[in-house]
């Protein structure tokens, strides 16, 4: 009975949120404010019992750390007391007269966390990534070669079509010539694909690794602001934007899955846990 009651509560709240799809309304607002309060309360309690009680309150007031008793004013007592005091000082900001004291612990906190991150970020985001991208360009096993060469074939086709048709280097103003130009571009694209396949099968080049290198080069060039985007830099930045867009496309496609998953989870809750319509 209790379970049915609580599942129903969850279901009603779920439907209140979905009512937002029709339009903003009091049911939605009620649930929204309720969760603000409930989650703040939940976090407060969890922070207290998991951290503050065992690591601050118990050592300071009950003179215990883990299993052992500690002496008042002993080293371990100070180690709990000093950060506890600094933590309390953070709340000085709510009292205008002594608000400035609140900046002391904040300084330690902000500075400490800022410093902690610097070196691991350099290591993880810069050095390791450059290391992983400083790839051998030839003579390696390349499982992605097929798809890489196919994609490059399409790029060659697209670029030649652009040159022939849009830039009108071939068949200007003539419909049949234009079709012919596209066919010619397709042939060139296919020829490119065949040549690349032969080369990569022979192990002469690894186009996948070359693409990875060019992609990183292009992306970094795009975000380079100290020179105008002209000449080589302009070309690299143009390549960079292509890679960026494909990357964003991948993120978009993946994100769709994320949002749909959440919906599936909620529909599953309503149909299965609450109504027992499906098993």
């Amino acid at each position: 009975m209790a379970e049915l009651f609580w599942t129903t509560v969850g279901a009603i709240l779920t439907l209140s949120i979905y009512s937002f799809l029709y339009k903003d309304n009091p049911f939605y607002k009620f649930a929204e404010h309720l969760v603000v309060g409930v989650s703040a309360g939940y976090y407060l309690v969890i922070y207290y019992w998991n951290y503050i009680d065992p690591n601050v309150a118990t050592p300071i007031f009950l003179l215990r750390v883990g299993d052992e008793s500690i002496g008042f004013m002993s080293g371990q007592w100070w180690m709990a007391f000093i950060p506890g005091l600094l933590g309390i000082l953070l709340y000085a900001r709510f009292f205008p007269k002594i608000a400035w004291v609140g900046r002391w612990p904040l300084g330690i906190y902000v500075g400490g966390y800022a410093g902690l991150g610097i070196s691991p970020v350099m290591q993880a985001r810069v050095i390791r990534q450059l290391g992983a991208n400083g790839l051998p360009l030839a003579g390696v096993d390349d499982p992605m070669a097929g798809m890489t060469n196919f994609a490059l074939g399409i790029v060659i086709f697209a670029v030649t079509t652009y040159l022939f048709v849009v830039k009108r280097s071939i068949g200007a103003g003539n419909k049949i010539a234009r079709v012919g130009a596209i066919v010619l571009a397709a042939v060139i694209g296919y020829a490119g694909y065949v040549v690349l396949t032969l080369l990569s099968n022979a192990g002469v080049v690894s186009m996948t690794n070359i693409l990875l290198v060019i992609g990183l080069l292009g992306t970094l060039s795009y975000f380079f602001f100290s020179m105008r985007h002209r000449g080589i830099l302009g070309g690299l930045a143009r390549i960079g934007i292509i890679f960026l867009m494909v990357g964003f496309g991948a993120s978009f496609g993946y994100t769709v899955m994320s949002r749909i998953s959440l919906l599936i989870g909620r529909v599953g809750f309503l149909l299965h846990d609450w109504l027992h319509l499906v098993d």
Binding site: G134, P136, F225, S226, M245, F248, T255
Partner: protein, 403 residues
């Protein structure tokens, strides 16, 4: 058949490895003597090139020594019957001392973490087959010390120092008024054009500075750009609506806009009712901004700042309302939505570059220029890595190994 002995030693090794415990030398002898009598009587060749050195760990109290060797010729080759290596440690070169550990075949390294700091030791490593021990390889003396430097992280330190030196230098140059070049960000033209279009149509401009707090650098960058936009709208006397999700951001935005109107010579055109605090809650804020789009029909929507999931709700409604939209954020996961639904998007660092370009503030210029040249250095390092790969210059690659 060597099975019983094999099984015994293999078991012993597994135990030793799993528990990482000290194995007494006597136990090993005992196990060996219990092994099958019919077995192999030829001892394996000893491991070669034994060396030992102080191991620099994370908290280096000087109790760790790293021992390494080259495989015995009978490990993987020759008789191919080596099962593992027995590592022992003594304080005199000729004594055999205590067992430090047993490692399985194919291993060439062991870290002894039981050394007494600043005590010279000799290490002895023997290859073990099913019943026999090889002649020991010996190395020493070596002692563990507490180190003041982690050599594996030298490359991190050097790159960090170079980068920080650049950031600080550029900041100071900018402070002294040196003219540092930043290319004009195309997004700024798009913003100006969008505002111009709104003026032509006689409809307001909507500027959303994101839902980040005031200390978020995206919000700070956005307020710089807001000042620029406000100067244009002041000149054209186009209404500028700024909805905010944080009370502090609202007061900052008020200051920025009021000042910009005064600077543009139209302080009277400033309308405080257009700088609005809507709601702290993400979706409630998005719903309220959507309401503004549909009721007050702004002709240009500018979304610049820190955005989370609400980006989609805003950009989609704005697109449908037919406004020209320009967005800018460094929240990478939201960029796909802005790129697809907006006419122009300032991606990632372009947001910071735009604010540095407009404000010329030294601290913004410093980090932007520093990052720029660090990117150039990164490209050079990657190229060097590729060349090092080709010519087989392993020392270069090894210097960047951090583990």
């Amino acid at each position: 058949m060597k099975l019983p002995g094999t099984a015994c030693i293999a078991f012993l090794m597994l135990c030793a490895c799993a528990a990482n415990a000290q194995v007494d030398a006597v136990d090993v002898e005992e196990v060996l003597s219990m092994a099958d009598a019919r077995a192999d009587s030829v001892p394996p060749a000893p491991p070669r090139d034994l060396s030992a050195r102080d191991h620099i760990g994370d908290n280096d109290s000087g109790d760790r020594i790293s021992v390494s060797w080259t495989l015995s010729p009978d490990d993987g080759g020759g008789e191919a019957d080596v099962l593992g290596y027995l590592v022992m440690r003594s304080e005199a070169p000729d004594a055999r001392g205590d067992t430090v550990g047993v490692v399985p075949a194919g291993t060439t390294r062991l870290v002894d973490d039981t050394a007494v700091p600043r005590t010279p030791y000799y290490y002895h490593v023997q290859a073990v087959d099913s019943v026999n021990l090889s002649e020991p390889a010996t190395f020493g003396p070596v002692e563990g010390r507490s180190s003041f430097w982690q050599p594996r992280r030298t490359s991190v330190f050097v790159l960090m120092a170079v980068f920080f030196a650049m950031v600080i230098t550029f900041t100071q140059l900018a402070q002294k008024g040196a003219s540092l070049f930043i290319r004009r960000i195309p997004g700024l033209n798009a913003i100006e054009e969008a505002v111009g279009r709104a003026t032509e149509m006689g409809r307001p401009v909507l500027y959303v500075p994101g839902i980040g707090e005031i200390d978020n650098i995206m919000t700070i960058a956005s307020l710089t750009i807001l000042s620029h936009v406000a100067k244009i709208t002041a000149r054209y006397e186009t209404p500028l609506i700024v909805p905010t999700a944080r009370a502090v951001v609202m007061s900052a935005a008020e200051e920025v806009v009021k000042e910009a109107y005064a600077e543009a010579g139209h302080p009277d055109a400033y309308n405080p009712d257009n700088i609005r605090y809507l709601s702290d809650a993400q979706f409630a804020f998005a719903a309220a901004v959507n309401g503004i789009m549909l009721r007050e029909k702004p002709a240009a929507n500018l979304y610049l700042g820190a955005f989370w999931a609400e980006s989609l709700l805003l950009a989609e409604t704005g697109f449908e309302a037919g406004a020209i939209q320009v967005a800018g954020t460094a929240m990478v996961s939201q960029l796909p939505f802005f790129v697809t639904a907006c006419d122009f998007t300032l991606m990632g660092e372009e947001l910071y570059a735009a604010s540095a370009y407009l404000s010329r503030e030294p601290k913004l210029m410093g980090s932007l220029k520093g990052s720029d040249w660090m990117k150039a250095l990164s490209i050079a390092l990657m190229a060097a890595g590729i060349i090092a790969n080709i010519v087989g210059w392993t020392a270069f690659v090894a210097w960047f190994e951090t583990q």
